[in-house]
């Protein structure tokens, strides 16, 4: 179609839209509401998802290597006589050491690989914390605190004390805030650590940290590697975990199996380790898109309806336009332009509405309780959502407007002019 006739169609569309400003505005508001809610919902939901992902990232390494206790092997009798029936009474698991052999060398090797930001070794153990009559179950990580800081940025998560206190205090411990609160212990207090093997040691709290996830802050403490080795009465090479941090954490899922194959120890990526947290993210995404699409479909039906009514009311006009020499495509473009204008300006208002609404949500106080330490709802102001919003809005109205417009293009002028 020629540009001039498109311009003429646009002029007619404009006049018709402006002659019924209230109807036009109502049609636009349908789109505005749909797009606005879409923006607000997706900003909030992805904000939450980003928060949980960040928390998952900060609390666990991108890849963790450890000795995975293997399932029972077949007994030798079954190998010799595979057809026969072998019964072993009271079979017990083998005494397996959780030690990662040559952990320091493995960490060295991993550090040399591309995309690896750092690798640290640590000794993790279940322990009981005793303070007064209270006895709490938790874990202790024996670490090189400076190396750990490189990976997890502990410096910025300290609530009291400094990480360097640990280096100068061989029997020091940095404790999660939740754990300390439960023990009613403060910095400077001494707590007794009991290992599952029954060894005890008194350690002094030199700092408190808060990562933001309840399950970590309520159970974990950091101590020097050698201190934990001493408590467990293990040798200087006893290491249970190698933690790896990457520059691009999305590559963890690919790299983990490679490391597992190369070094022979179980390598678990952060997504697998935090599957429970991330399942919530997936469900939130599904809900967001389901609700948004529903809103847009409702808005689309609104536009379809209004255009159908408009075209019904404009039958005479369409007939006379066709008699005067406007072709089917000319008539179609008049109504398509109307629906696109409604869609575009409706979406534009929707973006503004969405922005204001998400800003208000970000101001709303929200207490994450013990599980997540946040004070306000996290909102993700990603410009991409606004692009998606306007594309979605215009596309929906284009589809909703197309069918009535096509109907208008096919109107037979004789039927109407003859009355």
């Amino acid at each position: 179609m020629k540009f001039t006739s498109l311009k003429l169609s646009a002029g007619i569309a404009k006049t018709q839209l402006l002659s019924k400003p209230r109807q036009t505005l109502v049609a636009m508001l349908g789109v505005t509401f749909g797009i606005g809610m879409f923006i607000a919902l997706i900003s909030m939901m992805t904000g939450l998802n980003k928060l949980t992902e960040d928390l998952a990232m900060t609390s666990s390494p991108d890849i963790r290597m450890y000795y995975d206790i293997s399932p029972d092997r077949k007994s030798i009798a079954e190998f010799i006589n595979p057809q026969g029936l072998t019964i072993t009474h009271h079979q017990k698991p083998k005494n397996e050491s959780l030690k990662v052999r040559n952990a320091k060398q493995i960490a060295e090797q991993i550090r040399k690989r591309p995309n690896v930001k750092g690798a640290s070794i640590l000794l993790n153990s279940q322990v009981f914390y005793n303070y007064g009559p209270v006895q709490l179950n938790g874990t202790i990580d024996g670490v090189d605190i400076l190396e750990e800081d490189k990976l997890f940025d502990l410096t910025h998560k300290m609530k009291e004390g400094r990480i360097e206190n640990l280096i100068s205090n061989p029997d020091g411990i940095i404790m999660g805030t939740g754990l300390a609160k439960k023990l009613r212990a403060k910095t400077g207090d001494r707590v007794v650590i009991t290992t599952p093997q029954g060894f005890t040691q008194t350690l002094k709290i030199v700092g408190l940290f808060q990562i933001g996830i309840g399950i970590v802050d309520n159970t974990r403490s950091y101590a020097n590697l050698s201190t934990v080795q001493t408590i467990l009465q293990k040798d200087k090479s006893f290491i249970t975990d190698v933690n790896v941090k990457l520059y691009d954490y999305t590559k963890a899922k690919e790299l983990a199996p490679v490391l597992q194959k190369d070094f022979g120890y179980k390598a678990e990526d952060w997504e697998t380790a935090n599957a429970t947290l991330l399942v919530g993210a997936i469900i939130r995404n599904i809900i967001t898109y389901a609700v948004s699409i529903t809103l847009l479909i409702v808005a689309g039906f609104g536009i379809y309806n209004i255009l159908n009514i408009t075209i019904h009311n404009k039958m005479k006009d369409i007939a006379i336009l066709k008699a005067m020499g406007f072709s089917g495509p000319d008539v179609r473009s008049i109504f398509m332009i109307q629906s696109l204008v409604i869609g575009f300006f409706g979406s534009l208002m929707g973006l503004i509405f969405g922005l204001v609404f998400s800003y208000l949500i970000s101001l709303a106080p929200f207490n994450g309780g013990d599980i997540i330490s946040i004070t306000h709802l996290p909102v993700n102001f990603n410009p991409l959502f606004y692009v998606i919003g306007i594309v979605f809005g215009v596309a929906t109205t284009a589809i909703a407007g197309y069918m009535p417009s096509r109907k208008a293009a096919h109107v037979d002028p004789i039927e109407i002019l003859r009355g």
Binding site: T4, T15, L321, S327, G328
Partner: protein, 225 residues
């Protein structure tokens, strides 16, 4: 020497609803330049049907149709629309102005569609037509605010804007009082006499028909006079 603007030969048309019925039975019509032809007949005789065939809006017919030396039988709907825009002007019983537009805009629309002249020139032309019909004072009014007779005059101005070869009217005075009927008739008369405009109009107004330059009378799908 008379120039022919419209010739239809052997126009035959059937209606299929509610049952097959032959409305037009091999009609031959010819209109020359400057002629004012009135198409009369009893209701149901097929005169309006014939007019819509001649107008190119109805394409479901057999026979040959030539308007402005163009044989139009095999043209597509969109080509015919462009043809109507250029060569045919319409005046209907109900004035069918676009109600949201001003009088001036209504008249300008077909010319803007034709895109032969600049917009400013189209406006000048529209004013000229309005003056000719004594409607220049109403140019900027919204068309819905005019009386029936005024609207019909605007419709005539609109039909004239592209300087068509022929104006077609379907009961152009059917909805007007006698004063306005006389007015419209005088306009038509002036158009043919002064400007040599060809007009073909369906009417059942005897008086109106009597003043035309030629009457074609139809009955049962045939021309009888």
């Amino acid at each position: 020497m008379k120039t022919e603007v419209l010739r239809a030969t052997g126009i035959t048309k059937y209606f299929y609803e509610p049952e097959k019925f032959q409305v037009l039975k091999g009609i031959d019509v010819q209109v020359n330049k400057g002629e004012f032809v009135a198409l009369v007949g009893k209701s149901g005789c097929g005169k309006s049907t014939l007019m819509y065939v001649l107008s190119t809006m109805d394409t479901q017919y057999e026979g040959e149709l030539v308007v402005a030396s163009e044989k139009l039988n095999d043209w597509s709907q969109n080509q015919l629309a462009a043809f109507r825009n250029k060569h045919i002007g319409f005046v209907f019983q109900f004035h069918y102005l676009l109600p949201e537009f001003t009088v001036l805009q209504n008249i300008m629309l077909p010319a803007l569609k034709l895109n032969r002249w600049q917009e400013s020139e189209v406006e000048d032309r529209a004013y000229t037509k309005l003056k000719m019909l004594g409607m220049q004072d109403h140019a900027l009014k919204v068309s819905a605010k005019l009386s029936g007779g005024q609207q019909q005059r605007v419709a005539i101005a609109r039909a004239l804007i592209n300087e068509p070869d022929i104006i077609m009217g379907d009961e152009p005075t059917g909805n007007l009082d006698s004063y306005n009927t006389q007015l419209v008739f005088d306009i038509f008369k002036e158009l043919t006499d002064v400007y040599h405009q060809s007009i073909i109009a369906v009417t059942h107004d005897e008086e109106f028909a009597a003043k035309s330059s030629r009457i074609i009378e139809m009955a049962d799908g045939k021309i009888i006079h």
